[in-house]
């Protein structure tokens, strides 16, 4: 999920396309080879939130997708005209003009509303396994008829499987079982008879990813697992503290504060649910459950649980388990028979966003050691090796989110999101091609990588001054050297946008924390960088980072550049899956149980590595 400092709304959608099969979350669709454009496939399978205003004529240039993996046809003339060289290099293509030549994985981008930002999710194909739907709609007219030869109870006929367990059952619903209408259906949820609905009514769930900054809700079709729509907004708790620690400080003051934070997020989720259901003309009786991922603190704040233990050593949360309760107990109104469930966390700083992310990327199923790295204010990471999953969290600080950076900003329209420094000068792109208003995480990393490559920053992180370099972007401001990214008064840019020495120091601190965390995990697992087969970059900013630049500045080991995949919001994707599929939920519960948390505070090797990784590694 990209960061943004305005209350924006956007859609996002993941498609992983195979030559012979298309996965839409959990749906696998056979498709003929090479005969259809990507746009055909997208439309054929009812993916919403994907814009193609010209109707696939190849003229508007809006139906952009990114090819993550696999080969497609060469760029057509219209693509060469409508896409920049940089976009083409980054694998951006027009869905209407591009046909698959092999099994491929793609990202789609879809925006909504004026202030929208582009976002995306891509899923590792290996992670996608077929799942049994958690909710099954049983039409009354499909129930086997009772006879002297089949004397099973009505209840047994509906659940139709032998399972010696106790069923949770509301007598109110039980009383209706004898007067069912042939046009009714019963929804079985996690093997309990859960609700009576008209047979024609759709059944849906809501998957939620509560980020410290951003709240995302996904409307999930519980029959086929498709994500029907997405609602996103800045976390409304933000006015009570921008980051986890300040929000905990507020919450710790009193039960009233905790109640307030609880109400704020519950009401915001409820608002999002109402909007999603309304847009799709769904009644609240269609909604079965709400499946929630998020970091440990956000889940505590949603339940109203005390967060003080999270903030101070020894960092003890109230709960890390997966929990469920009725929505009304969590402060939701009008959703009486809906269940709210929180996905499992691991520790105070490794939350359900990570367990859900591990499920999405399936690092625990990889035969070779793999890493999930989720970058936000904290850099949370998990390393799978054999049957173990080691995880830890490093306090990276908010530099990559644009905070504490002189001209920093979140991933909003006009943010500089990529920078290319040559010996002659500097070029950049902005989100939505709007006049630059600041620089966001991926741009900052690109800029620093360029400075290092051009020798304008030395291995200690010192930025050369105009007296030491004649590069045109190196300027002086208030007696200090800066990298001028965009000059005010030109191309619609109001004020100068630049990177300072202090900005570079902020990035140094952040990248060394993350790099040291990665190396500590590997060390604890007795692995070297060469043993790692794949690194998945997740988180709001993870999907936009350029792995090449991240490798150059040492945020990730340089050797892993080619083994790095940006997976976007793997937490949200995991929540969607757990909302839909039994095996997905079980897998995520199992992941949480297997995760071994490594506390880095006081970890000797980590401290050494942290200092060591502060320096930059210059290319030999």
């Amino acid at each position: 999920m990209n960061l943004k400092y305005g209350d924006t709304v956007f859609r996002m959608k993941t498609i992983t396309y195979y030559k012979d099969t298309t996965f839409l979350t959990q749906r696998q669709i056979n498709s003929s080879t090479g005969s259809s454009t990507l746009l055909d496939l997208i439309n054929e399978h009812g993916i919403t939130g994907f814009d193609a205003p010209c109707g696939g004529n190849g003229t508007c240039g809006k139906c952009r997708v990114r090819i993550i993996d696999g080969t497609v046809t060469e760029p057509a003339e219209n693509e060469l005209a409508l896409l920049t060289e940089r976009e083409l290099a980054a694998g951006i293509r027009l869905a209407c003009s591009c046909r698959p030549l092999s099994d491929i994985t793609i990202d789609t981008f879809a925006s909504r509303g004026d202030s929208a930002v582009i976002s995306s999710t891509s899923v590792s194909v290996a992670a996608t396994t077929p799942a049994t739907p958690r909710c099954i709609k049983v039409a009354v007219d499909s129930l086997p008829e009772a006879s002297i030869l089949d004397q099973r109870s009505i209840f047994s006929r509906i659940i139709s499987h032998d399972d010696h367990r106790m069923y949770h059952m509301d007598p109110h619903l039980l009383r209706q079982l004898d007067t069912l209408d042939p046009e009714d259906a019963l929804v079985i949820r996690d093997q309990d008879i859960y609700r009576r609905i008209p047979a024609g009514e759709r059944i849906c769930g809501i998957a939620v990813d509560i980020g410290t900054t951003t709240l995302v809700l996904y409307l999930v079709d519980l029959e086929d697992g498709r994500t029907l729509d997405v609602y996103s907004a800045l976390n409304a708790q933000k006015s009570f503290g921008a980051d986890v620690i300040s929000r905990i400080a507020y919450a710790t003051e009193s039960q009233e504060h905790r109640d307030r934070l609880q109400q704020v997020i519950a009401q915001q989720i409820q608002k999002g649910i109402e909007q999603l259901l309304g847009t799709h003309h769904l009644k609240s009786s269609s909604l079965m459950h709400i499946t929630i991922a998020g970091n440990t603190t956000m889940l505590h704040l949603l339940t109203g649980a005390e967060t003080a233990g999270i903030a101070a050593s020894p960092f003890i949360p109230v709960f890390t388990e997966a929990l469920s309760c009725e929505a009304s107990r969590m402060g939701f109104t009008g959703l009486d028979a809906v269940t709210v469930e929180l996905l499992p966390s691991v520790a105070a700083y490794v939350g359900a966003d990570i367990t859900a992310g591990i499920h999405t990327c399936a690092i625990h199923r990889s035969p070779q050691p793999s890493i999930l790295l989720d970058i936000g204010t904290n850099g949370e990471m998990a390393l799978s090796v054999d049957s173990r999953i080691l995880c830890c969290s490093t306090a990276a600080g908010p530099a990559f989110e644009g905070a504490n950076i002189a001209c920093g900003t979140g991933g909003i329209h006009g943010a500089i999101d990529s920078v290319n420094i040559t010996p002659e000068g500097l070029t950049y792109t902005t989100i939505a091609d709007e006049p630059a208003i600041g620089i966001c995480g991926s741009g900052i990393i690109d800029a620093l990588a360029g400075l290092l490559e051009q020798g304008l920053v030395d291995y200690t992180g010192r930025l050369l001054g105009p007296d030491e370099s004649d590069h045109p972007a190196i300027r002086e401001q208030d007696g200090n050297p800066v990298l001028l990214l965009a000059a005010g008064g030109q191309h619609g840019v109001q004020d100068d946008i630049y990177l300072t020495q202090k900005d570079i120091r902020e990035v140094q601190l952040a990248k060394s924390a993350i790099a040291a965390g990665l190396l500590t995990l590997m060390g604890d697992a007795l692995l070297t960088i060469d043993d790692i087969s794949q690194l998945y970059l997740a988180g709001g900013f993870g999907s936009f980072i350029h792995p090449q630049s991240a490798g150059i500045i040492g945020l990730i080991p340089r050797k892993l550049i080619d083994r790095t995949i940006a997976v976007g919001n793997s937490s949200g994707e995991g929540a969607v899956r757990c909302c839909f599929g039994s095996e997905h939920l079980q897998d995520t519960l199992h992941i949480a149980e297997r995760c071994e948390y490594i506390e880095l505070s006081g970890h000797k090797q980590f401290q050494d590595l942290y200092i060591q990784e502060m320096m930059f590694e210059l290319e030999e």
Copy 2:
């Protein structure tokens, strides 16, 4: 449970005593050999409801127990003086005066209140397996301390086991976990954190057996599985119909009627709970759950589910599954955080009383084929053979409950409960040794057995008249022969008490239905009577029946007399166990899944056997 036609209250208690170990439901206690009297052991282990008014001096004769199995010391002088010959022959002894000489199994009898009746429960020793308590009280001051080396969440510390599942959790309770008092405890119920209570508070459950006639509640100590007390009353639904069919007829008329029946039984259970908790000074916060056994119709009426399907072919109930819900949903008030759970049934006429009874008698674990026979208005029976459990239900009619019998009565004080006919005359005993007021089931069977043995009834069931026999008890009344049991105006008896030809016909119908059911089950399992290792007689009347007489009249196969054990209310005992122990509940759920129901209506072999068994088999 004994039938009674007055709203009586009584206690009952089961003890199975071993020479070296004492089982109190699930509690196993080491005890020195031979050194203690049974009364010492009973007192030592806190069994309530057992009367010894003289304090063990051997003078009052009230501390009666029945030796089921094993050897004890010879009767002492006071026992010979205070017990009748018949009582001694039946294994009745005084607990104060009797010491075990081997592993033994005993029944205790305990009464309460003036109008009380004696009842008992004995459990097959083989069935008693140790169980894991379903509710565990975790004292806050016993929780492992958090440290940087043990960063588990507070929740994890409380549940203290790895289990990748989703926990049901009320956020209200979650919010309290951070502010626990060292004097608090948390109750974990079926692995969920369920309630916060003061550490010194006891935790208890209520086990319920809803019979068509009698309602019994057991107060169960959930820490050690002991039954602390029993509440019993006539089922208050009785005024809406004495038997299952008439009650279904009333319920089927309207939803209002169903609601009324639902409220009546829920309120009665609630009243019983309040009385039991009050007597033992327990708060409602001590009560964790209510575990309910009963026949299928009674469980339907408790939930308010429609019963019409049960009454008419093909006899389809709404549910047979084990169900749970919050007590408030079942019409209980003031028990908000209490769970109500219904044990699993098999079919319309094989209910949770039978699955619970099978668990109690453990016929499914017997290496040899065994039978459970529960006699009430219906004769319900289950036969275990290898991994199969076959069961069926026969409409025996209410003869054994004293209904449709000229001088019949339930098992109340003054009921003739045993009859002995000699060539010279007839003797009888009554419950509580009070003047005879009628004859109950066990007396009817004894009387008929005596008539057959003395040749006063022929194999067709015809009662000889005074013109055919000079037996002094054979009299004539209104021109028809009768057996005079007690003459009016003598020994405090008001009116003549007798058995008529019509009474004998009623018993013939009842016994042939049950006998034919037993033989049908054996036939379907390809077994003969010789293959059966044990027959457990259960039900209100089952614990008082004399197997010898039952064999003579052909209620049970004559060959099984020596292999027959009366087990009393095996349903209630099963509910108590399921209330307490995880394995007990799991076993009962598993039993219900394994039971194969055999429908006898239209069953060719059953019909043939029913006619065949109508006749009496005279001893060769």
